[in-house]
């Protein structure tokens, strides 16, 4: 029941995100979608992930997007009116993608009554150990690579966005 309610609100917000003409409102609707996705993660029993989603997506990424909206407020794009041809082609492409994928899914072996198993034991402790483990199931290499990547992105973001003549 909660799932259907959440799904309804998320889909309405996602539709509003791609259909609204104001780019700033679009960012706010995106924030709604991302915050409610944390509700999905809670339903799936991934509490730690729900916290990360709120912290990083809603607290970080949406704020960055709002900054981007404000720093690039050009007059000709305050109202984003795509042409009718563009809208039709976009709708056709995404509807085709959805139709083909849904058809394939409904005909696959996933379309059985697979219910959610109730005995999952997710915890941040297991996750932390998996992140730093060097054994077979460990993720130490991608973990360290991500940290290097984030440092690179930090530096290149500053270099790209700084004024050219210092």
């Amino acid at each position: 029941m909660i799932f259907y309610l959440l799904t309804f609100v998320i889909l309405v917000l996602a539709l509003a995100t791609v259909l609204t003409r104001h780019i700033f409102r679009s960012a706010i609707y995106l924030m709604g979608v991302l915050a409610l996705s944390a509700g999905y993660y809670l339903l799936l029993g991934a509490e730690f992930l729900a916290g990360v989603q709120i912290l990083v997506y809603v607290g970080g990424i949406v704020v960055l997007i709002v900054f981007a909206v404000m720093l690039t407020q050009s007059q000709d794009l305050i109202h984003d009116h795509p042409s009718r041809l563009r809208k039709m082609l976009g709708f056709l492409t995404s509807a085709t993608f959805f139709g083909v994928s849904a058809w394939a899914l409904l005909n696959s072996h996933l379309n059985k009554n697979i219910e959610m198993p109730s005995d999952a034991q997710f915890s941040a402790q297991i996750m932390g150990k998996a992140f730093l483990s060097t054994e077979g199931n460990g993720y130490i290499l991608p973990f360290e690579l991500i940290s290097i990547l984030l440092l690179t992105v930090l530096i290149s973001g500053i270099v790209l966005a700084k004024k050219e003549k210092v």
Partner: protein, 100 residues
């Protein structure tokens, strides 16, 4: 049920594709890409929970997806700010210098 979860994330992804194809503003493109990344991350957690409930690999991959999304938005914002300073516009239909 597994199939309804997967269909929801598929629908969110399709909405993201529509957004990417119709927006003229580059910031709008960034927003639509975030929608698609979020749908893909949700999919990873759903399959983890339904099919491999004793492991956590899907959730760990989702953490990586979130970190990469943050990196992508930061670089995207820096590029857009630089672009706006040079051309006073972030209309992606006007950015066609590489074609000529």
């Amino acid at each position: 049920m597994l199939i309804s979860w997967v269909l929801v994330s598929l629908l969110l992804f399709s909405l993201g594709i529509y957004g990417v194809l119709t927006r003229r503003s580059a910031v709008g493109l960034l927003i639509s890409v975030e929608l698609m990344l979020n749908a893909a991350a949700l999919n990873l957690v759903v399959f983890n929970r339904f099919l491999f409930a004793s492991r956590m690999d899907g959730q760990i991959l989702t953490i990586f997806v979130i970190a990469l999304a943050a990196a992508e938005v930061l670089i995207g914002m820096a590029i857009l700010v630089m672009l706006f300073r040079r051309k006073k516009s972030v209309d992606v239909t006007q950015l066609s210098q590489l074609k000529h």
